[in-house]
């Protein structure tokens, strides 16, 4: 990859249906942009998984597969970071109410690890409840020269 394509800014924006195909599609777009940004295999896996988990939250828990609701997805690459924004049209939720999946009493739960994984894999993860409804998730991964 040329240094020029690494440093070129790139933005992709999509309005996606509330289904699992959109999860795959958003992950695919993300992997393409992140590869062009020069992230290594390890970071690509982490970024892809963080976007997949965020999209699943938007489609399944936010929009609840409602065909009348959309997920707004955008990814922006600039010189030093990759920023992904995912907005659903659901009722929103209180992120503080999500149980700690590492707590001994929650270790055997079969769900509730998504936000923990997103936070583990990205440099920044902001979750904001929107008015009158919806949730905006902003993920940032910084590029580090290796």
């Amino acid at each position: 990859m040329s240094n020029q394509s690494r440093h070129e800014a790139e933005t992709v924006e999509r309005s996606l249906d509330s289904n699992l195909d959109s999860v795959d599609y958003a992950e695919e777009i993300t992997m393409g942009v992140a590869k062009r940004a020069g992230f290594d295999e390890d970071d690509l896996t982490k970024i892809g998984m963080a976007v997949r988990e965020s999209m699943v939250n938007a489609v399944v828990h936010g929009n609840r597969y409602n065909a009348n609701k959309k997920v707004r997805f955008s990814i922006h690459k600039d010189t030093d970071r990759l920023t992904v924004r995912i907005i659903d049209e659901g009722e929103g939720f209180d992120v503080e109410s999500v149980p700690d999946p590492l707590a001994p009493e929650n270790l055997f739960r079969n769900s509730g690890r998504g936000i923990f994984l997103i936070r583990s894999f990205m440099d920044d993860c902001r979750i904001r409840r929107l008015e009158p409804g919806g949730t905006e998730v902003t993920l940032v991964k910084r590029m580090v020269s290796k």
Binding site: L20, R52, V56, L107, F108, S111, R113, G114, L117, S120
Partner: protein, 114 residues
């Protein structure tokens, strides 16, 4: 490819070879159905071979935990074989690695059920 599961019997151990992606939807449902079926058929010794699993998400991890719980509650044992680095890393950061009995070699995994 989503996920492909193949079951075989080695002595009294049921080995499930899993390949592909275990993600929300087809992948996690297939794993759940396979384990439920084994519990229903009273299989007590189950070895999940994850050597060809290229990707697993939080839903897939949830199915592993759920499968482990239901097999254990039915008086059986569920063990894992051949974790890729990616899957091992995920189980470690979610503090689940030590919950499972994990093996790298199939023969020793089979013997460990005795």
């Amino acid at each position: 490819m989503s996920v492909k599961l193949n079951s075989r019997q080695v002595g009294d151990v049921s080995v499930v070879d899993v390949a592909g992606r275990i993600t929300l939807g087809e992948g996690s449902t297939a794993l759940r159905d396979a384990l439920r079926d084994m519990v229903a058929k009273n299989h007590k010794k189950i070895l999940l071979n994850l050597g060809d699993v290229s990707y697993i998400d939080s839903s897939g991890i949830g199915e592993l935990v759920s499968g482990f719980t239901s097999v254990t509650n039915s008086g059986g044992q569920l063990k894992l074989l051949g974790l890729t680095k990616r899957v091992k890393d995920l189980l470690q950061i979610t503090k689940l690695y030590t919950v499972f009995d994990v093996h790298e070699d199939e023969s020793s995994a089979i013997r460990s059920f005795a």
